[in-house]
């Protein structure tokens, strides 16, 4: 059976879900700013912003996560709490780019040798309901990275906004487990037609022109290129692109202590911060923005592909939209492809 959910039943459906699952969805914090958060009431869900600032990776890899708590005595410290997941989870409203990004992070965190249990436990228990992008932005270049506004890979349930209802495609076992949900109706042929039309329209809108074909090999030849001397100049070295990027996964581990009680916490970190690679001796293998910008771009388009066979970028465009100085990763790739740096000083318009 092909399903749909009327928008007037949406809140009821969410209320149903909330009885048995922990629900994560985009929430608007203020106009123009959305993040993925745990939902207590259906009214909090806001699907209007195509790219929420903080991506779906927050659900599996929170910015700030307590690994364990401990107490200290004169002779030793001892761990007093362990991490556990209470209920099954649903993430609703992630876009195909964010869903693809989760699988990119998964390849690092869930390995043959070691598995990051904090990530894995959450991932195992989560059903992913992806929302298709009817109206991609001009900054979306998911089609260049192997994705697309209606890409279904990685989704358990695929949701398409038809205007007054949502078309629901139950794709996996986890997704099909929802087929008995009370408010699901049968989608008629008009709904299916409309979904197809929307998919067709959207597929033309995302940017396919970013030259990512063979970027790994091109960058192999450019490790010491003067290209890096110029491209890093306007970067101010903040963490916006890395924190908002759905595939960036670097983290720092610190102990926070008050009196004799404490916790070991992991927090997101950014390879663009100067102290990221600073060693206690004072030596810093990446002393200037040149090395750090090189590290970020090479990691995404050369190092990660060497290890896992695809680029670590999903074309969501967040780094372009939110960078304070408009560093544009698309232009960086174009210039790397052409191996030139003149013309990077703005464009006469």
């Amino acid at each position: 059976m092909k399903f749909k959910l009327d928008k007037k039943d949406f809140e009821n459906f969410l209320n149903d879900l909330l009885e048995t699952h922990d629900l994560f969805a985009p929430v608007q914090l203020t106009e123009g700013v959305s993040v993925f958060k745990k939902i207590e009431r259906p009214e909090e869900v806001n699907l209007n912003q195509l790219v929420p600032q903080k991506s779906a990776k927050e659900v599996f890899f929170p910015q700030s996560e307590v690994m364990f708590r401990f107490e200290m005595t004169k002779h030793q410290g001892s761990i007093v709490s362990k991490h556990q997941i209470e209920r099954e989870r649903v993430i609703l409203g992630a876009r195909p780019c964010d869903v693809e990004a989760i699988s990119i992070i998964e390849k690092v965190f869930v390995g043959e040798d070691y598995t990051d249990l904090y990530f894995f436990e959450k991932r195992k228990e989560t059903t992913i309901i992806t929302l298709a992008c009817n109206q991609p932005l001009t900054t979306c270049f998911c089609s260049s990275t192997g994705g697309g506004p209606f890409r279904r890979e990685g989704s358990d349930i695929f949701m398409i906004d038809l205007g007054d209802s949502y078309r629901l495609e139950l794709l996996t076992q986890k997704g099909k487990a929802f087929s008995k949900k009370r408010f699901f109706k049968e989608a008629n042929s008009k709904d299916i037609e409309l979904a197809k039309e929307l998919e067709e329209k959207a597929s033309h809108k995302t940017d396919r022109s970013i030259p990512l074909e063979g970027i790994e090999k091109r960058l192999d030849l450019m490790v010491e290129s003067p290209f890096w001397d110029r491209i890093h100049e306007k970067c101010i070295g903040c963490g916006v692109c890395t924190f908002l990027c759905p595939t960036c996964h670097c983290f720092d581990i610190t102990d926070e202590v008050v009196n004799l009680k404490g916790q070991r916490v992991r927090n997101w970190d950014s390879c663009l911060f100067p102290i990221y690679s600073l060693e206690t001796s004072g030596h810093n293998p990446r002393p200037t923005g040149r090395e750090r910008t090189r590290q970020r771009l090479m990691h995404k388009f050369n190092y990660y592909p060497k290890n896992f066979g695809k680029v670590a970028c999903v074309g969501c465009g967040r780094c372009i939209l939110f960078c304070p100085v408009q560093f544009d990763i698309r232009e960086a790739i174009r210039y790397a492809s052409a191996k030139r740096t003149q013309g990077m000083e703005g464009r006469p318009r």
Binding site: H75, S78, D113, M298
Partner: protein, 270 residues
Amino acid sequence: MIVKKARIETSDRMLRTLELTFRNPEDEEKFRYIPGQFCELSILGKGEAPFGIASSPTEKGSLKFTINKAGVVTTAIHHLEEGYEIGIRGPLGNGYPIDLFEGKNLLIIGGGFAFTTLRSLIAYFLHPENRPRIKGITVIYGARMPGLLLYKEELLEWEKRDDLRLVMTVDWGDKDWKGKVGLVPNVLEEVAPSAEETYAVICGPPIMIKFTFPKLMTLRFPNERIFTSLEKRMKCGIGKCGRCNIGHLYVCKDGPVFSYAQLEKLPKDY
């Protein structure tokens, strides 16, 4: 793990060797390691840091680490009392390529307090079970001053052995020092071991490596037969946090031991 014994190793009091025992003897059974691997030692309330294992797997009953006092965690380790329990994660890393050394000569060059994992390697091959697997062992170990040499009593024992050639040197001697005075690269040139059928392992401060490496080239050591143990800032130690990468390899997971042939192909990110 429990701190069984601790002692200051060097005259500037910056290096302290800890001997740690397992709280549960069964854990020791499961803890199988080879020279060159490292562990993350955890002091609850301060943090965690990676340290190369200085003891050899042939030395049962405890693990030895030599720690340089530099930051928050290492200062806390320097203040640990005997009997204190700390956390450990390991063994991590790839270790020295013991299998490759089979039937060959070994040239070991160490500088300063980078000698810790080299001690593990030497002690491993000096063990009667393992000594026959290797042909000749030559060790060149240098420090700035005699007081800064690690494991002094052991070095004196090793000097007396005839199944290994140990040359110690210092940059500046003192009135009691009877050994060589000279920089490691120059001593290497003097000793001039043959590169034939020989693997070189070199660990030391960047400045020493910078000047020693060309001498190895002059002695005709090919890049595939020169190994080093790198250091980089680490956090998780298992290739997840992204911090210690050199190119597409992680120092914690694919290293810390790398051959120069490998390093040639990677960006100079260390």
